[in-house]
Symmetry: C2
Subunit: 262 residues, 2 copies
DNA sequence: GAGTGGTCTAGACCACTGT
DNA sequence: CAGTGGTCTAGACCACTCC
């Protein structure tokens, strides 16, 4: 026995697949579907909610239900890390020109709404393990919100952790008003004599929390990427951990693995 | 004005967060919540459905609603590619010992339910572009389902594409009955004189389709990873494209980027 | 103001799970 | 068989969007 709402969803799904309902087009309104399929309103709504959870349609209050456009994904590759490192030792004027976010998005600083907040926190179990520090160790936490006023651009929520005692050596690094810092974190670390040896990316996916949904303006059903970036210096020390929340429908990761020749 | 179902969800959410409702514990049944919050049943259900979509609880028909356990994630790293390549030129007996899946999961072939189906398809726009071939080019499509009878292990759905005219040189490669092939795809390619130079991983995330939900036994709200692996040989030719669907709650990717020294 | 989706009520009956 | 979640009805009223 297939449920009615499943059957309705199935029929709409195939109309979307075969192009009868192309991206951007409006689905029949709830009342109309109620009549066509001879069901009560909640059943129609259940079918549409299901399609929304699958990412096929967008429900817009007061306007209608629309077939979702496939999103253009912004590609993220680890080449950015080497690019950042190469910029560190350039003169400030050149470093200032553009940051990594602008490089990724193609937007200029004027289009971006940049916010940074700093505070200190005690390392929890998770962070302490990652840093190889005792639980409770003092960390500088930096929270970045990059928003854009122009549409269709990727946003992100980034939380970065640094070991407080290490970065306190340069007090300018403790003040959020110095952000955005020309040359980014790698240059900040450079000011206290730290050179990065490698960066480890760990990628997971999950449904967003309510806050993430709002901050990233996610449609219902869209999952998020949670990227943890671990920066390790030339002494093998973990010097920064950065957690980025990225919209799952606007992001793709590309990593190339070179194999040794026979 | 906060909706009632939102308020109920919020209250249950905090009880889960603060440990009052630990992982594995059962939530109050719908009827009980209906009384406690003085709302109708659909409202309670809406709240619980929301928590399920967020991945916080599992709804089990006929049994109750339970706080979900955080899943142990299986780590996927690109080191497996080099490992596979190194195995290619070992004697068959050693290659036979274990495959990549077993290496990843720690399970032996006896625990795994392995299925392979081969057919040929015409390259669509997407595949033709990736292979740098004309649309309609003949491809060998290989579909693998790896399931496990023991619990808590990762499953995957893999679709692999090879250029038909290239692999037809060794007719053994066209027959699904030769799977699982000791040494995997890299060894199969080796039999026709192909050596891989590099592998490009492209990772996206999205909600699962109905079929994927069933095949991977996903709880509601769990997104999936879609990993496209592009294998490029020493002549710079794309020789294999493999699309893997992986459960989002049981998978993590780890990639290390080595930076050049100053 | 008209059209649309969002929330909610107060029930009824069915399907699955475990004893 | 009892307990639980799954589906469905037939309404009512509210909130948002756009003209």
């Amino acid at each position: 026995m297939v449920a009615k709402y499943e059957r309705i969803a199935q029929e709409l799904r195939s109309k979307i697949d075969n192009g009868e309902l192309p991206p951007g087009s409006q689905l029949p309104v709830e009342q109309e579907l109620r009549v066509t399929y001879r069901v009560s309103l909640p059943v129609v709504r259940q079918a549409l909610d299901l399609l929304a959870a699958e990412g096929l349609v967008d429900r817009k209050h007061g306007r209608g239900t629309y077939v979702r456009h496939p999103r253009q994904r912004v590609r993220r590759t680890p080449e950015r890390y080497q690019w950042e490192k190469d910029r560190v030792r350039l003169p400030e004027q050149q470093r200032q020109r553009t940051g990594a976010t602008e490089r990724d998005t193609g937007l200029t600083m004027a289009d971006l709404d940049f916010k940074a907040e700093f505070d200190t926190v005690a390392a929890n179990d998770d962070l302490a393990t990652a840093f190889s520090l005792p639980i409770g160790a003092k960390l500088l936490r930096r929270i970045y919100r990059t928003q854009s006023h122009v549409e269709h651009s990727p946003l992100s929520l980034i939380t970065s952790y640094l070991v407080y005692d290490i970065v306190a050596e340069n007090s300018a690094l403790l003040d959020a008003r110095n952000e955005p810092w020309p040359g980014g974190t790698q240059h900040q670390l450079y000011t206290i004599g730290i050179e990065l040896d490698r960066i480890v990316d760990r990628i997971i996916t999950r449904p967003p929390t309510i806050e993430e949904t709002e901050a990233l303006d996610l449609s219902s059903g869209v999952p998020i990427f949670d990227l943890r970036k671990i920066s390790i210096d030339t002494d093998g020390r973990v010097v920064e951990i950065s957690d980025a929340i990225l919209p799952g429908d606007r992001t793709e990761f590309v990593y190339t693995t070179k194999l040794t020749r026979w």
